[in-house]
Point group: C2
Chain length 547, copies 2
């Protein structure tokens, strides 16, 4: 009997965490976070609810990581502090993890593994990493051999015939396993709605070469710091064009430093970089800026350059390349960023006008189909996507000839049970999203989010009164203060205070003795008075002080 339980990533992009359990032993594949939507109300990261693992902590044998991106490793510090188990990953992935854990002062038992080197984990699992191409070095999927059969988890993958590091997705291995028989394939669904083949990263390389050729001024490339394959070819191109590289963005500098330490950026030395403070002194045609902030994050490199406030001022003759798609929710901010550069006379190219400046790191429909045809699994679970992505991937599997009973559309918290070669739904475990603020400590609940939303939409009025402890007479107030009110509403406050005062004076002595009732009545009085003058309903915070 084998259980597969997604704790995250099946119903959203990010938050990837997949439990596999067999005969009292648990493995977790990935432990990722997700970023909250714009207008995040003080929530900075979202992590999976790990209640199920906390409850079964003693059974967890280890965590297997597919690659070093935040949506696959970002929740590790939170889980490890409660469930300290060994973490397995390839060299580069563990490099990323080590950095992250060091920052937060979390200890961990990190164990390096290599593709095509199977190892035993617990009594019942044999684990083998299998090489996949993604946007970061050393990405893998996992092959899990269990008493019930073999699982293939693809991780995030693309099929690039000519990847930057020469390391292609190991389709051969998956094909071999397909011939042996695979109990279940769990495959990346991110691009399941895209019908055209995801292109090779070489396309971006060629586009950059063409674009950069005739630039007389500065070249700025804005992209994710985590896309280390692209970072590598930009650095190599800069060297070829004899441009010194300026790094903007903490994560960009950190990732490049780490990649260099681990030997993933051969031929790149200190002499290729100049600090941003010196960049303004260099001839523009000798400079290339590699910046974070492709999603228009307010304090990132690109936003700084667009604002024109830093030492490096861009203008006509300079080129900015936005080498990323806007993530859903960020489009408006990214548009505004582009407009800021245009306003300064800077030439800007971005995927809408120059599709070759970005290709995806995920296989699309026809490529997902190819994997399905190769593996011919007995059961199929689409992973990594919102429900509609999973849904479409399932349709592709159907087109590939899988029968309805082989298709398992699971979501976070679903418990899938495999026995005798068949998978079925057999209940659920607690799963969900835990909101945390940027300091990684405070948990923000749905109620708090709602409270914040109301504060932000309507503003609030604080109403304070002082009551004599013995006589229960009103000694002072109500005194009103507004926060976030519009101009008309602020002007209303003195009148509202007067009305609320009268409302309070009408309260019986009996009522005044009960603090909770006084607060309640104070809120009522202010609301009623406010409603006389405005259609809006701000939050009212009552303060009752006694002397």
């Amino acid at each position: 009997m084998l259980h597969v339980i997604p704790l995250g990533g099946l119903g959203e992009i990010g938050l990837n965490a997949m439990v596999v359990a067999c005969r009292g032993e648990i493995l977790l594949i990935d432990c990722g976070l997700m970023f909250p939507p714009a207008g995040h109300l003080g929530v900075d990261i979202v992590v999976p609810d790990f209640a199920h693992l906390r409850k079964n902590a003693a059974l967890v044998q280890g965590i297997l990581l597919t690659h070093g991106h935040e949506d696959h490793i970002g929740a590790l510090p939170f889980l490890l502090s409660e469930v300290p188990v060994p973490v397995y990953g390839t060299r580069f992935t563990l490099g990323m993890v080590r950095h992250r854990l060091n920052e937060l002062g979390v200890e961990a038992d990190l164990r390096e593994i290599e593709p095509r080197h199977p190892f035993r984990l617990g009594q019942h699992f044999t684990v083998e990493a299998s090489r996949v191409t993604h946007t970061v070095p050393d990405a893998v999927g996992y092959i899990l051999r269990t008493p019930e059969g073999t699982l293939i988890h693809t991780g995030d993958f693309k099929l690039d015939p000519d990847p930057i590091d020469g390391l292609r997705t190991d389709l051969e291995r998956w094909g071999e396993l397909g011939d042996e028989g695979v109990l279940c394939l769990l495959s990346d669904s991110t691009n399941s709605e895209r019908t055209h083949e995801t292109g090779s990263e070489r396309e971006v390389e060629r586009t950059f070469e063409r674009l950069f050729q005739d630039v007389k001024g500065r070249i700025v490339v804005g992209m994710f710091a985590s896309h280390l394959h692209r970072v590598r070819h930009v650095l190599e191109l800069a060297r070829k064009l004899e441009r010194s590289v300026v790094l903007m963005g903490r994560s960009m500098a950190r990732n490049i430093e780490m990649a260099r330490e681990l030997g993933y950026l051969p031929g790149i030395s200190d002499s290729h970089f100049v600090p941003v403070e010196h960049a303004a002194l260099l001839p523009p045609e000798r400079t290339l800026v590699l910046a974070t902030g492709s999603q228009a994050e307010p304090r990132a490199g690109l936003s700084q350059l667009a604002s024109g406030e830093g030492s490096l001022r861009l203008g006509p003759g300079d080129l900015v390349v936005l080498s990323a798609r806007a993530i859903p929710g960020n489009e408006r901010a990214v548009s505004a960023l582009i407009d800021q550069f245009l306003w300064r006379g800077v030439r800007v190219v971005y995927p809408e006008t120059e599709p070759g400046v970005h290709v995806s790191g995920h296989a699309s429909q026809p490529q997902q189909r190819r994997v399905l045809d190769l593996v011919r699994p007995r059961n199929f679970v689409p992973i990594h996507g919102e429900l509609h992505h999973l849904h479409r991937h399932l349709a592709t599997a159907k087109e590939a000839g899988l029968a309805p009973e082989q298709l398992l559309l699971a979501q976070d918290g679903d418990l899938l049970l495999f026995e005798e070669g068949r998978g079925r739904f057999a209940g659920s475990v607690p799963a969900g999203r835990v909101y945390r603020d940027r300091f990684g400590q405070g948990v923000v609940t749905q109620d708090i989010l709602q409270e914040r939303t109301r504060l932000a939409e309507t503003g609030l009025i604080v109403a304070a009164i002082v009551i004599d402890r013995s006589s229960l007479q009103l000694m002072s107030g109500p005194q009103l203060t507004g926060q976030g009110l519009n101009l008309d509403e602020q002007a209303l406050l003195p009148r509202v205070a007067q009305d609320a005062r009268e409302f309070f004076l009408e309260m019986s002595r009996e009522l005044r003795g009960d603090d909770a009732r006084v607060r309640e009545e104070l809120v009522k009085g202010v609301r009623r008075a406010f409603r006389l003058h405005s259609a809006k309903r701000p939050v009212v915070v009552p303060m009752v002080l006694k002397v």
Copy 2:
């Protein structure tokens, strides 16, 4: 001497308002609003800053409307209440305006005009509306003949060879004027980055026919209520399929009612509709729901259906068609809406998986080029778009052979001056965005928005104390209450109150006599105490009461 001054719509999508002034006479073309981004913090609509028109109110001869969409007419009530001038528009457009003004109780002098019927306005303008195809009946552009030459303002347009109402964009008329000589073309840039031709609305008609054919359950079409051409063909299709139509969404019902009154929905009678309360009683295969909420607006028709809370419950066998693109910023919410339907087993089709369910209402690059080739203006001003859209439209004009000095990239507030056939920048006027809440009254300033953002991101702490008026002794407090704090922070409050109390007790008698200083010190004390325990900095609201 002729002035062209965009007050809105050149630098954003929406907010369209264009001043044309000649020899002391002013016309305004369109008077639109825009909707704020998601996470709007209590801002419901954005209107242009009309300071320039208020200042020159006596000179304004009238407002010319291109069509009845909110981004072209939505700011009228605000302008008319301060600058009451005649409003010119076609029949359907004025119908939309009348509804909107009646709701708000604003009076206006509405004057109906027709395409190809020029009329005099003021001493110096001859105005002629010219038919364009858009997504709403009776859309026009304007031809303004002035002593300095002829202007063509396209309004929002597309080139549809076979529009639903048979009324094509009057390219012939623009061509005639091109032959005569046009001083300046102002042309819609919305789709300037799209390189494929915008398709005909007939494509959507055909897609719907194909999709609806075999549906055994309910059919739901989610779309903008303002897209009246599409509303019309959905109603006709429902009639053909013998399905009764259920309307969900106030604007949908209102627009259809008005269109019927004005005779724009021939053949559609009361008998084709059933109220939503009765819809659950009808056989599913006899029902078609036309719903608002294609942008996943929380209270709109589609969101109600997706939540499953209303009387109409969808499930397997039913079809939901999302017949609109997600507007930038809404993608994440729209994705979640799709997932909600899928979760109920409902089949959902949307543009990503079925491109034919939506076509745009705006001409794309090759079609914009066709208009440029036809008109061959002496000057060209791209309008209606963010800066990057305008920029790309300008590039198209360059490709069409216009010389750099003929290309005018104007933004909101720029004053363009035309004399002797040439246009140039000659200063600017006040322009900007005014934020208003849903009640249309309160103005929300940038400062207030920032205050609300801080409230929403960090939450706040109210700190109240009571001081004896004569002795200046602390009588009570500080009493602290939090709003929007996370759980850890809430738990800190008692300790913070204690620390802040000690801080206050250390204050000199002299300081305590100064209310402003007391408040300041109270904030400082709470902040300092809070910082001892947390890295976050909530807003602190001080309340000092005296007895």
